[in-house]
């Protein structure tokens, strides 16, 4: 299965005079865990936001699930949004609703399933991400950082999306929780056939679960491929990012 799920061609993004992306290309294949890497301000989150229709590039084409985002109609956009789940960095749970209501809301809006089944589904999603059952009655303000991430993941998985976007899923988590989160993501990818796109800084995540990634820097994609492929290249940013040679730990 090598069909391409997301394809970015010649993406140019600029905020005013500040150029963020200078003709960026990358492609994400089905069923892989793909990461957008790069230092702070390298525009990886911006690229992610462009993929999920929160921002528009200045030029270039971006295709998600075969649909060109430049010529997308509002109806297609609405359909597309139902096929992906997004986990925001800070969780972005609706603070006026409990965790359970945050998840159930999607079922109420997009399906006409009976309340009993919605209740069951909310229960298994909460269980799936490793939250205790009573968490569904808590408000986001009553959750710890790790629980917020898990609850947000449960919400992102509510409609059984084929595509999952994660913005720094492990930031702010302790190392053990981070690894558990990684394992969970990998497990979900295998069992639910997900394609996962994430922005991350976590080197352990990169080593353990990422299949392929794009390293952004100097407004370009410096390298794209698997970890071993990328480490073949010689580039100061690659050395810096993976702390090779004079930058620290040996590889």
């Amino acid at each position: 299965m090598n069909s391409i799920i997301i394809e970015a061609r010649d993406i140019v993004t600029a905020f005013g005079d500040m150029l963020i992306h200078d003709h960026i290309n990358c492609s994400i294949r089905k069923n892989e865990i793909y990461a957008l890497l790069g230092g702070s301000g390298s525009g990886k989150s911006t690229l992610l936001r462009e993929m999920i229709l929160l921002q528009h590039p200045k030029s270039g084409t971006l295709k998600v699930l075969g649909i060109d985002l430049n010529t997308i109609t509002p109806l297609e956009a609405q359909n597309l949004r139902r096929q992906w789940g997004v986990l925001f960095q800070s969780g972005a749970l609706y603070s006026s609703l409990t965790v359970g209501e945050n998840i159930a809301m999607l079922y109420h809006e997009y399906t006409d399933l009976p309340p009993k089944l919605i209740n069951e589904l909310v229960g298994i999603k909460i269980d799936l991400v490793g939250l205790p059952p009573h968490a569904r009655f808590l408000y986001p303000s009553e959750l710890s950082g790790g629980m917020v991430k898990r609850a947000a993941l449960a919400r992102a998985l509510a409609l059984d999306p084929k595509l999952l976007f994660l913005d720094e899923p492990t930031s702010g988590l302790d190392p053990l929780s981070s690894r558990q989160f990684d394992t969970l993501i990998a497990q979900l990818r295998d069992l639910l056939g997900l394609t996962v796109v994430m922005v991350t800084h976590d080197l352990d995540t990169i080593h353990h679960i990422i299949d392929r990634f794009a390293l952004l820097g100097e407004k370009k994609v410096i390298a794209e491929g698997t970890l071993n492929e990328v480490l073949q290249y010689n580039h100061p940013i690659i050395d810096y990012f993976f702390q090779r040679g004079s930058y620290g730990i040996k590889d």
Binding site: S95, S96, Y110, T111, D112, L113, P114, K116, L117, N119, E120, L121, G123, I124, K125, D127, L128, P133, H134, R136, F137, Y139, P140, S141, L159, D160, Q187, L188, L191, L192
Partner: protein, 372 residues
Amino acid sequence: MQSSSTAHLEIINEHSHTLLQCSGMWTLPYLSTVAYQLETLNPESSVIWDVSHISEIDSAGIALWQLYHRAFEHKGLESKLIGANPDHDKLYRLLYSHTYEPEQPPKTHSWLYVLGHETHQNILGIGTFLAFLGEAFVLLVYTLLHPTQIRYRSIVAHIFATGATALPIIALSAFLIGVVVAYQSIVQLQKFGADIFIVDMIGISLTRELAPLITAIVVAGRSGSAFTAQIGAMKMTQEIDAMKTMGFDPFTFLVWPRVIALMIVMPLLIFFADIIGIFGGMVIAQAQSHLSFSEFVHRLQGALPIKHYIIGVVKGPFFAFLIAIVSTYRGFQVSMNTESIGYYTTKSVVNSIFLVIACDAIFSVLLTELKL
């Protein structure tokens, strides 16, 4: 077999068991009809689920099966599954890895408990407000003993924000109040041919009561809500904690500049509202009973003793203090969720308008008793 673009459930009643023939796409968008079919199904014998013809299944499909599987077993019926393929099995194992027990929602309390709890909270609230007030005054005394710590820049900035920029809306409100009072009273006064007393009416009611009250209400809605929202947002972004760790006291930096600025501004705004309000009355007096502006002003000099004007203006700092202290206090109560900003901003405006009116009532009673 039926078309596979939707979920199907065929119920076959055999003498020893009920066969549920499942087929098609058991995925989220298609499940509702099947779910209602299962809800109305009332099997009397053991149930066999044949899932071999399911073309696609997701977590909702598994959950639906599991829900009714449990329900049938709960009724004491046997529920068996045949034809499951390894993919179904893997998904099931992922979703139901633990023995899943539906959690009961926390109990809701009786109205009596809620009433008691709320009352208790409100009484405690008075305590925390008094503590806030006390701390504020301790720091005021400290700041006054160390005048270099007074935030003059901040005070001036707040004077501009709460005073100068409020002039248009105050002008408009005061003018309209002048117009309304003049219009209503002139009709009544004309019945007695006492048109000229419109001057007394306008002069005394506006300067003594209406202008201070209208100004305070506009300021509470405009600046009081802004104070709560500003401080609340700072609390949410941990700016207040940052200030504390740097030794910048929030009372000296945030509370007193706002309170002092508003106390300076309010009498000025009331004076401004007096003038505009009387002008509004003058316009109506001329239009309705041909009382010229010069006659009006001439009459006003005799009809309006200075004490009414002074009483009106003196109320200003009191109202300002109440509005500013309540709205900053509410700002500090904002907690880490986005909803609480809206909640406490509403509370701050409601509380400060109520306090202003209560304070005005006290003034009214006191001054009347003092024969002023």
